[in-house]
Amino acid sequence: MSNVSQRIQNDINTNDVVLYMKGTPVFPRCGFSSAVVQILTELRVSFKAVDVLVDPEIRQGIKEFSNWPTIPQLYVKGEFVGGSDIVREMFDQGELKSFLETRGVRLQAA
């Protein structure tokens, strides 16, 4: 395993929810990343955000890691859940919340 995939593996193993995105949750630099941040915020999920724009190695490495060509990418309990389209679809269908709950992710009380 290359160094960069080890870093990714370590991140997704040690954090329940990890979002690889462009920019930061406060200052997203892309509409797709922003949309996923909004959904996670709405569900009151705490997550680790990794800004791929400040780390070219991760920006390329994450695409190979998941065989997925675009950013953002959401990982829950070490599992790749999808990009913005899939996260949006799961959220719209009310599926995302129960998915997180069945994976044992704690949502903060409203």
Binding site: F32, K63, W68, T70
Partner: protein, 77 residues
Amino acid sequence: MAMSVGEIERLIREAIPDAEVTIKDMAGDGDHYAAMVVSSAFKGKTRVQQHQMVYDALKGRMGGQLHALSLQTAAKK
């Protein structure tokens, strides 16, 4: 840089022959598309796998030449 609707459709059908492809040009700029792809080849596959099949069909253009393609997939009933 941008790709035409016809080109995107052609690539998807080439890889997934029975695919019903509906593409909308969201911004009218030839660069922001939304596509709905329905195929029997998606049966029994997760959403991630279905999207990966479409990305594979686009042969590396997704995320590069094609910046914004919102994708929705479904298995043909």
